[in-house]
């Protein structure tokens, strides 16, 4: 515990442990990006550092938000994001074959990123309003399904399968914790099993191919299976201790595609080995656990559901990316937050953390530094 005599009270009240861990992850990410660029802060590490510090400040600033404020903005935030998603369809900026970005003069926004925390807050707010007695009724289910389904479909048609899956999973997690009956989850799961082949046939060529490759990665090692094959080679060849900082051949010789974005974990694992990987996974686990603790000790239903949903968002980010990089899930284009180069994921995760910090601040009266 840092004495409040030395450090001003507002600073001392920040959840320092979380900030240390998150900064540690980001710093490790910067080191990996430095190596991925062949030992240079350009073009990635420097930019990423600025982006991270910027969003960290925003998150810290957000921690002073009151729960009532968060509650109040939940529905408007959802509404605005939904409007932007529709706008993307009409005015969106096409990049890499997908219409995801909205060009607002100096900044380019990816509204689907906002949808992840927005759907969590909205559903948390919705279930707070539903009386306990009504929770097993149809009227507690269909609005949630609509709130979740509309943005999911809009994101899917961009097309952005990765974000769509994430939004669905975040929403379903909140619905699950809200106490909806089991059949609500069991029935769709069965339906997905039946519908999967039909959806598959309606998918875009590249999405189809990714699933084909996931099911049989060795079938096309030089074509579409190349990502997974090279990523597994990078991780596997790293061994326990790794090849050493700046000594990863897979990334430096450009065999590993997207080695600074989606497959940054493979770049890291090649140089830092199993040890680096386990440390990183543990660090993320600590962050998620912290969020889940916030949820457990929340005093309001909104606080409980929102905190759990936001933690789940971070969890899905990390786990989908790692499952994909290790060849356990199809390549769906989900980056590793705080480590992968790119602002969107950092933004989303820092928004989630900012909200979590705000919720956590409500739960205590004294600073909890350690």
């Amino acid at each position: 515990m840092i004495t409040s005599a030395i450090i001003p009270r507002p600073l001392a009240k920040l959840p320092w442990r979380l900030i240390f861990i998150v900064s540690g992850i980001a710093l490790f990410g910067l080191i990996v990006l430095y190596s991925a660029a062949g030992g240079s802060v350009r073009p990635w590490a420097m930019k990423q550092a600025v982006v991270f510090l910027g969003f960290l400040s925003i998150a810290v600033a957000m921690s002073w938000m009151k729960e009532s404020t968060i509650k109040a903005i939940a529905f408007p935030l959802y509404g605005i994001t939904l409007v932007m998603l529709v706008g993307v369809e009409g005015l969106g900026f096409v990049s890499k074959g997908a219409r995801r970005w909205l060009d607002l003069g100096p900044i380019r926004l990816q509204p689907s990123e906002f949808m992840k925390p927005a759907i969590v807050l909205t559903l948390a707010r919705f279930y707070e309003l539903v009386p306990a007695a009504e929770i097993r009724k149809w009227r507690a289910i269909w609005p949630a399904l609509a709130l979740l389904g509309v943005p999911a479909v809009l994101i899917l048609v961009q097309p952005d399968l990765g974000t769509c899956i994430m939004v669905l999973l975040c929403g379903v997690t909140v619905m699950f914790l809200a106490g909806l009956p089991w059949w609500v989850f069991a029935a769709p799961a069965a339906a997905v099993g039946v519908a999967a082949p039909i959806v598959y046939s309606m998918m875009h060529g590249y999405q189809k191919k990714r699933i084909d490759v996931f099911l049989d990665p060795e079938g096309d090692p030089l074509g579409a299976g190349y990502h997974i094959a090279q990523s597994k080679i990078a991780i596997g060849s790293g061994g326990i201790w790794g090849k050493g900082f700046l000594h990863g051949s897979q990334s430096h010789l450009q065999y590993l595609p997207e080695g600074h974005t989606d497959f940054v974990f493979a770049t890291m694992a090649e140089e830092w080995g199993l040890v680096g990987g386990v440390i990183l996974i543990c660090a993320f686990a600590a962050v998620i656990r912290w969020g889940m603790r916030v949820s457990q000790s929340a005093r309001t239903r909104f606080g409980q559901l929102a905190a759990a949903g936001l933690s789940a968002t971070i969890f899905f980010y990390v786990s989908i990316n790692l499952l994909m990089v290790m060849g356990l899930a199809p390549v769906v284009g989900v980056p590793l937050p705080l480590v992968s180069f790119g602002g969107s994921a950092v933004m989303t995760v820092m928004l989630c953390l900012g909200l979590l910090m705000a919720l956590e601040r409500q739960q205590r009266t004294v600073s909890r530094l350690i």
Partner: protein, 637 residues
Amino acid sequence: MKHVRITTAHQSITFSRRMMLLGGAQAAVGGLLVGRMGWLAIAQNQKYQLLSESNRVQLIPVPPRRGWIIDRNGKPIAINKASFRVDLIPQQIVDGPKVIAELQQLMNLPPDEVERITRELAASRGFQPVSVGDNVPYEQYAAITVRLPDLPGVAASRGFTRFYPGGSTVGQLVGYVGAASAAEYEKENKNPLLLIPGVKIGKEGLEKALESTLRGEPGGQRVEVTARGKLVKELDPKPDRSGGTVQLTIDADLHQYAARRIGDQSCSVVVIDVTNGDILAMPSMPSFDPNNFSDGISQNEWKMLSDDDHLPLVDKALESLYPSGSTIKPSMALALLNAGVDRKQIVNCTGAFQLGNHTFHCDKRHGPVDMDAAVVHSCDVYFYSMCLRVGAEKLSPMVRSMGFGEKFDLPFDNQRYGTIPDPEWMMRKYHRKWQGYDTVNMSIGQGMVLINPLQLAVMASRLATGKRVIPRLLKSTPVAPQTQLAVDQDHLDFIRKAMWGVVDHGTAAAAKLPLDGIQMAGKTGTAQTHNLSASERGDYTSAVWKLRDHSLFMGFVPFDNPRYACATIVEHGGFGAAVAAPLVRDTITFLYDRQKALAALQAFEESIGGTLEERLARKTASWRSANGVPPLTSTTA
């Protein structure tokens, strides 16, 4: 479903329970990730390290030098010459016709070559380089190297060319080398070595049969490259291992002498050392020049070779089959003696022999002949009547044991072994009973009897030694033990004496060796290629070349202590004694007295219009003018 009123307390319990579930699921996923990573990084570490290394390090193969082929005395038959070469890499070519036109100007390419390059370029499969020139003079090489940036797709490099000092005289023996075809590349599991410009593999003959020994192990420059093929740094090279040298039993000088002495005939000569079966010479002429083949040959050159009725693309020593004619008679005589025929018994030759309603002829009226006279003067009627008396069953085994129809294990793909018929074979093959006329035909080596020149030389060796001489061509093959043949020494002495008589005062008297104290024993043969009318018989020169008889001779020297056996079959050469026997005489002379033999060769070559090279140049020129192809102006190779 029971309706329970759910309260806030219920809700709180549900939330806690589901949080536990969610936390458990998250922990499980975390465990799965760590486990998976451990599996990849520990259990499969070796596999992935190997894959990562094979990504990182690329091997630029350095072709090994092809092994030499040398003769029994270490004289080179096939060697490598340092050379400059120019190739076209089809994948990198932007404007093919323009590049070819520029190369034509820079390298002074004859139209034939341009046509070949264009054709090969059209047929190539992208990866396969097309050779422009194998043996480019330094000035041209330098001129092209300077212009390389303006000639995309052109590769100039230093390398080695296969060189055959013997030229066309060894063509049929060694075969030739060439760049691997698409099919050969596939067959070797896409061996990257075969794609390197200038890498030649054996295509025919010994070059092909001995490929595994001659090729060697490619080395390589190990380099670190990026996924896009950019070179990062060079690592320590892996040395190559040159191909092994193969020593033949051939005597290169003798082989070349025999080939030249063949002249313009379509013919093959085989010389065997009877003490161990070593094949000392086995030329087949005319032949192709393997030096021209290694660079890829033009269509005109190919057409000229394949149109030639003297079959330069066939190894006549092993692939061509001929009736043995009278050369079979010494073996027949041995079979007769074995069957109990009295060698003094007289048969009266009237020049014709009646069997049923068919008359078999002899080439002249020999009068009363015993066995000795029948061999020495090659009387057919004697063998007709004696062989009929004994029967085919007792003849064929003896002839076969002398080497006819026998398969020899030599490093060639396309050997043909011929036939020595017998009643059982006749039934199996033609489903008919053996007839008297079959015996009559076989008795003088006609009818179904087919042999190759090597078998004829083996027969001479076995008659000379009485042992089962087995030919060998590679010095590394152990000498086959020579078992005794099932013949009486007394019979053998008699036959050898008769064969001595053939050369001394018989049909081959013209083939007496011009050497003191060394005498040859032999037997002539004249094999009919079609049924001559009575008026044509004995007229060996005026008939159309294709219809003339084959001329054969086999013999051994010295007749009293045999050391060398020699046989030749001259296609459509006419009477055996006139063409084949002198050829063997000069070849054998070369073994004992080179001066005399070379003098004889010079006189012979003058009589037929110059050396092999001069005659070949003339022949090419006349073929080209007859076929409307412009004459060869200059050759770059």
